[in-house]
Symmetry: C2
Subunit: 115 residues, 2 copies
């Protein structure tokens, strides 16, 4: 799909349940969802506590709900290491990593319009 095809296509009203954009926006619509994914883009894997430290204002419950939800959707991978002491690391699946191109466009927009 080229950008021109895309521009023509959005003029046609597609029911939200069939539209890949509406469905992705729905998936990203939680208060912290897109920010948690963006933090995960920066690391190969990261622990809960470190992640929380990077997300100013998030509570334990909000972060664990967001991670669980993204795990169910196949975007986040939770790996448990049975070492001593046992610990858990979070990382992005291939679909989560592929969201980096969305953040790239967001970054370019922010640089242009929020400076």
């Amino acid at each position: 799909m080229t950008f021109q095809e895309f521009k023509n296509r959005i003029k046609v009203t597609t029911p939200a349940k069939d539209c890949p954009i509406s469905r992705t926006l729905e998936l990203l619509s939680g208060k912290w969802t897109s920010r948690v994914i963006y933090e995960l883009e920066k690391y190969d894997q990261i622990r809960f506590g470190e992640l929380k430290k990077n997300l100013n204002g998030i509570t334990n419950t909000m972060l664990s709900n967001t991670l669980k939800n993204l795990e169910e959707k196949g975007i986040v991978i939770r790996t448990q290491y049975n070492e001593i002491p046992p610990h858990v690391e979070y990382s992005l699946s291939d679909s989560g990593k592929a969201m980096l191109s969305i953040y790239y466009e967001i970054g370019k927009w922010g640089e242009t319009y929020l400076s």
Copy 2:
């Protein structure tokens, strides 16, 4: 900024208040914000009632708060027509229209990973 420069840059932890991505994510973080902008991308201008009809589940209060907030941020333009009967139309500013490239990436992601 090329995609490669972007990839290198996000590894460096930038405080959220200086990071154009974090600031844009913050701006888009309301429950309906990104979906309202996406609806507005489809029209040159649109009335409140039509917009509401396209956003399944939104209440009058949620829609008017989202629009007011986006107007304050310079993304949405509210135009009042003093005809009889008077009416109001909503449209996107140039910065709002420029978000179309973000939705393009979101659409490509959704086509690939939600099909």
